[in-house]
């Protein structure tokens, strides 16, 4: 057997496995955010993934790896703002999400981000998630976040290797709907600015795709009380 071939196949295998874990985390993320994904997609075994998304050499083919998912009813309810006088029948502020893996192995700049932005805009996706292998340049970050009317997020593949919310030290984060938020504020007689805060750039906030102004409920285990809930205002 060719020695060269053997090393390259081991390399390809390793990359494939890493990408499979990222892929799985992405689906868990979509599920946790409340998008419609099937159990089969989340639990896809490595063998199936390899068969589906590898090129003839055994390396992953990222061009094939594109995901789009629609929000569930529950998620739409959660993202519907409270009716007000000027807007008696509010529409949910969420929609189809689109996930793309960037095939470029070297540094990613404005060019790739621009094509991604264009694609998201053209197909009228509400949210776009851009996943790269390397960090992207500062101007590319600015370009990605400056899409008017749409939300574009960026992750690195290595950030999603492990699902951080499944770690035992990370408490459960639950997003509150506008109605629940209003009731919370009324019950404790608070203004939202009096709540403790969580940053949008917080890893869990990024994972859940939280937006400024939302309130998240954090449920921890407590030795004395069993469960302990605290609330954070996303800034």
């Amino acid at each position: 057997m060719d020695d060269d071939y053997a090393t390259s196949s081991v390399d390809a295998d390793r990359e494939m496995t890493r990408l499979w874990r990222t892929w799985r985390t992405v689906f868990e993320m979509l599920l946790d955010r409340g998008y419609e994904v099937t159990e089969d997609e989340v639990q896809m075994p490595l063998a199936v993934f390899k068969e589906k998304y590898s090129d003839p050499l055994g390396y992953p083919d990222r061009n094939k790896m594109k995901i789009s998912a629609r929000p569930t009813e529950a998620m739409q309810a959660k993202y519907t703002p409270l009716p007000s006088k000027s807007n008696p029948t509010p529409q949910p502020d969420c929609g189809t999400i689109y996930v793309e893996f960037c095939p470029d192995a070297t540094a990613v700049g404005t060019k790739q981000v621009r094509t991604f932005n264009h694609l998201v805009d053209e197909n009228n996706y509400h949210t776009g998630v851009f996943i790269t292998q390397t960090p992207i340049s500062p101007s590319a970050v600015r370009l990605l976040s400056s899409m008017p009317g749409r939300i574009c997020e960026h992750f690195q593949e290595q950030d999603l290797l492990v699902n951080i919310t499944r770690h035992e030290l990370v408490p459960k984060h639950v997003l509150l709907s506008p109605d629940e938020k209003a009731r919370l504020l009324e019950r404790y007689r608070l203004k939202e600015s009096q709540l403790p805060r969580i940053q949008v750039s917080d890893p869990v906030a990024r994972y859940l795709g939280l937006r400024r102004g939302q309130v998240v409920k954090i449920i921890r285990r407590s030795e004395t009380a069993g469960r302990y809930a605290s609330y954070r205002w996303v800034i």
Binding site: A107, G109, T110, S137, P138, S139, A140, R142, L143, S146
Partner: protein, 326 residues
């Protein structure tokens, strides 16, 4: 305690009489009236339970909002300029040492709002595209094949310590890979040091720095000229010194004139000052605090010295009370 006694603090008996007859209970009613009247006005003007906004406060809030919006606009402008400069120069055969005048002008114009960090972003962006970091160079940047994070570069002969040997530098590989050649690195850095450090919205209008750039070649040419001139103009310098002394003699006589021209409220000067402070909005021309000088009218008529009145030799009255003789 206050019910029986007059509440006004004055020594004039006529006022005491009037307030005593009215009684303290009635004196409270006129106070409540104005808010009610105001409230009815508010409902017509704006939302209820909200005080009418002072137009001055609104103007200041708007001024700051416009400032923040201008900052955001500038940031997007810089981003656009970076995207524009990534695919520079227009011709693929352009020579970085002698760029075409249009390209050079466009390049300099595009760099005006840049800070050094924005310029670094531009270099990074160009490198990602595979181009040399210098904006006027169409070539590809260097790619070092060998592994290892650092490179050793040797200077020209005689550049070492004491003018002997060669100068040696250890440079990270990424820095070396930014450019196509050392000349381009020098050209790009020559531009970078001319950029203004502060963001464009904090710059003064009359500041020359960060507005006019010299390319390395132009800078070298200008330096050559100035060197020639400085050696030849000893006479000129002496002549200028003479001018200076004459100017001084003149200035002392003009001093009184200058002081005469100086006034507290000089409109053009205060406008200049506002520009310098960044308060260029018309709502702030008069300063951030409203000052209303109100002159009292009762100062009319010539002022005379006090005259003796009957009873003053004993000390007179104290607020209407005349002490008894002992």
């Amino acid at each position: 305690m206050s019910s029986g006694r007059p509440i006004l603090k004055t020594s004039l008996p006529s006022i005491h009489a009037a307030s005593a007859s009215m009684g303290p209970s009635k004196s409270a009613t006129p106070r409540q009236a104005p808010p009610n009247a105001q409230g009815s006005q508010q409902q017509t003007a704006s939302l209820p339970n909200r005080p009418i906004a002072d137009p001055r406060h609104v103007a200041i809030a708007l001024h700051h909002a416009h400032q923040i919006q201008a900052q955001k606009d500038t940031e997007t402008l810089i981003l656009d300029r970076i995207l524009e400069l990534v695919t520079f120069p227009s011709a693929p055969s352009a020579d970085p040492a002698s760029p075409s005048p249009e390209d050079a002008r466009a390049f300099k114009h595009a760099l005006v709002p840049f800070q050094p960090t924005d310029y670094d972003n531009l270099i990074l962006e160009r490198n990602i595209e595979g181009l040399c970091g210098y904006g006027l160079c169409p070539r590809e940047h260097r790619k070092e094949d060998a592994k290892g994070t650092y490179r050793i570069t040797w200077g020209a002969k005689g550049s070492g310590p004491g003018g002997r040997g060669r100068d040696m530098n250890i440079i990270p590989k990424e820095k070396l890979e930014m450019w196509c050649s050392d000349e381009c690195a020098e050209r790009a850095m020559y531009i970078r040091v001319q950029l203004a450090e502060e963001p464009v919205w904090e710059r003064r209008a009359d500041e020359a720095r960060g507005k006019q750039f010299l390319l390395l070649e132009e800078g070298r040419a200008a330096q050559g000229q100035s060197n020639m001139r400085s050696s030849a103009t000893v006479k000129e310098v002496v002549g200028q010194l003479g001018n200076l002394q004459m100017g001084e003699a003149q200035s002392s006589s003009d001093m009184a004139d200058d002081i005469g021209r100086l006034s507290v409220r000089d409109d053009t000067r205060s406008r200049e000052l506002a520009l310098e402070r960044g308060d260029s909005h018309p709502a702030l021309y008069t300063g951030r605090v409203g000052i209303h000088v109100q002159e009292n009218d009762n100062a009319h008529g010539p002022v005379t010295a006090p005259q003796m009145r009957p009873g003053d030799e004993k000390g007179g009255s104290i607020e209407g009370y005349v002490p008894h003789d002992q």
